[in-house]
């Protein structure tokens, strides 16, 4: 019931908030691009048979020498920049979303354990979290990737390793509060097992603040992944994300071939900006105290 009232109220405010609407529109556009984009471009940029080296380094179509087949120009292998951006966005978005989901699940689980059971479990989890929080996420991820080597699975592990902390802390805090409430006492008196109390009674009540954390984290993860890939310790060359496309563009930037790096960067910016606009709105809605 409360959830429904909250949802109605958020929907009501959403319609009156320009930045929330623009954020949603930007994200829907990105989603559209990721979902149907590949069928809109003629070329699959990673099928070598479809590449034509004679078409390499063509400028965007509005410049002299541009080819209407390649709206945003081509890179050194004759790859359509627009197609590469569409495929790259898929990889970047996929990594951002999956790593956030993994972090959320693991962090929430650990936070519930720490908050509900307390004692040494709590002390251990929170000390690890404290130590980790005193180092920048980017540096930890960079260090892990340099040890693991490139690969999407390894990026997911590294990002989850840095991402769980914020959920664990948030959930632990709320769990400590909820644990004292009457309904938990009642459930315990009724003879429910700990697992059932945590899963059915506490979890639903500590999830709301996580929505904002998770939203913003998708954007952070997309940026960290891009940085790692730019440094060459992120995705493998066969699965270039937007960050790796920018890295490839960096090598030819000094020759004035700017389009291979400008467009992937704009794409990251649009995606993360949309996420942050929505995240800001949700934060205001779900934490009325900060309004």
């Amino acid at each position: 019931m409360m959830t429904r009232i909250l949802a109605t109220q958020i929907a009501f405010n959403w319609r009156r908030n320009l930045s929330a609407i623009s954020g949603t529109v930007i994200l829907l556009a990105c989603l559209f691009m990721v979902a149907v984009g590949p069928s809109l471009v003629a070329q699959n940029p990673y099928d070598v048979m479809q590449l034509n080296l004679l078409d390499s380094y063509l400028p965007p179509v509005w410049l002299e020498g541009g080819n209407p087949n390649y709206l945003l120009g081509t890179d050194g292998q004759g790859r359509d920049v627009l197609a590469a951006v569409i495929y790259g966005t898929r990889i970047s978005a996929l990594i951002g979303l999956s790593a956030t989901l993994l972090s959320c699940v693991i962090g929430t689980f650990l936070g519930l354990m720490a908050g509900y059971f307390g004692g040494w479990i709590d002390a251990l989890i929170m000390r690890v979290a404290d130590i980790q929080l005193s180092f920048p996420s980017m540096l930890i991820a960079l260090f892990l990737m340099s040890a693991f080597g490139t690969g999407i699975d390894k990026i997911l592990i590294s990002l989850t390793a840095v991402g769980w902390v914020v959920y664990a802390r948030t959930v632990r805090g709320s769990t400590l509060g909820e644990r004292q409430r009457e309904y938990v006492q009642a459930a315990r008196v009724a003879g429910l097992r700990d697992a059932a109390i945590i899963w059915r009674h506490i979890l639903p009540n500590v999830m709301t603040p996580l929505i904002v954390v998770a939203t913003v984290q998708v954007g952070t993860f997309i940026l960290i992944e891009a940085s790692l890939s730019f440094l060459g310790v992120g995705v493998p060359v066969t699965q270039p994300s937007l960050g790796l496309l920018i890295k490839n563009g960096f090598d030819v930037l000094f020759s004035g071939l700017w389009w291979t790096s400008l467009f992937p960067g704009l794409m990251i910016m649009a995606m993360v900006f949309g996420i942050n606009l929505l995240g800001d709105f949700l934060r205001d809605e779900l934490n009325p105290r900060l309004k």
Partner: protein, 321 residues
Amino acid sequence: MFAFTIRRLIQMVVVLWAVSVIVFLMMTFTGDPVFMVVPIDATQGEIDQARRILGLDRPMIVQYGIFLSGLLQGDFGLSYVFRQPAFDLILERLPATMEMVVVAMVIATVLAIPLGVYAGANPGKPLSRLIMSGSLLGVSLPGFWVGMMLIWVLAVEFRIFPSSGRGDIGTVLGVETSLATASGWHHIILPAFTLSVGTLAILLRMTRAGMMEVTRQDYMKFARAKGVSRRGVLYGHGLRNALIPVVTIFGLQLGDLIAFATITETIFAWPGMGKLLIDSIYRADRPVIVVYLMLVALIFVVINFMIDVLYTFIDPRITVK
């Protein structure tokens, strides 16, 4: 206060020890360093001998003991690539990184605080909205890409700034720095600005949030009623109280700047320790990576410690337990 300081110092040592264990384990379980020192066509006998010389045939706990005693003596071994002590290599490049981080921090602070105060004191005005949208865009930008675009426009197209290197180096108070020369300043502006973008946006948002919280307080109205000028109230009474959360973030941001300097240095070919780290990761030059990590960990725990102490000076209401 004294007990607090001692406890925090012990905590620092524990954190550093934990980091040393993690670094050691990661380094041990990822690849065999022996192949970094033996030639490709080495025989099994030569490989075994190299392993013995490096101490890699001993039990793990003994290896860790050797590693730890090396750390404590500042002996991290020779770089596999440069054949020089890894510690010296990093230390040589530390000033270059620090000068960039400091300049970036100054740029971020000088721009963020006035803008944040304005946006917090005048919410709803068009300029405030513009500032806030801009800052949200600032946290959404990939920093390295900003640097590349600056290089493209200002270095490649218009040739106003150099695109790489550190410029001439002078000596100030015994430290070699490019901040002592005009050419050094000319070289540092682009990389430092690139590095500062994210921090600028975050500091600005924190300052604004703090200001908005503070402007509602009664002492602000009282000071105004007492006859303090608007400016005096904002900066004297408001900012001082709004700064408390900003100071926490300040420390974390300093850490982030050091971390992101690795990327900025790579783009601008800035000869700092961040670029050395990235190069060392490519070459699997393990001793250099270890020095970097331990040094940076030390810097971070010291920063965190100083922030905690600083708190008590800014806000006397906070008492250390």
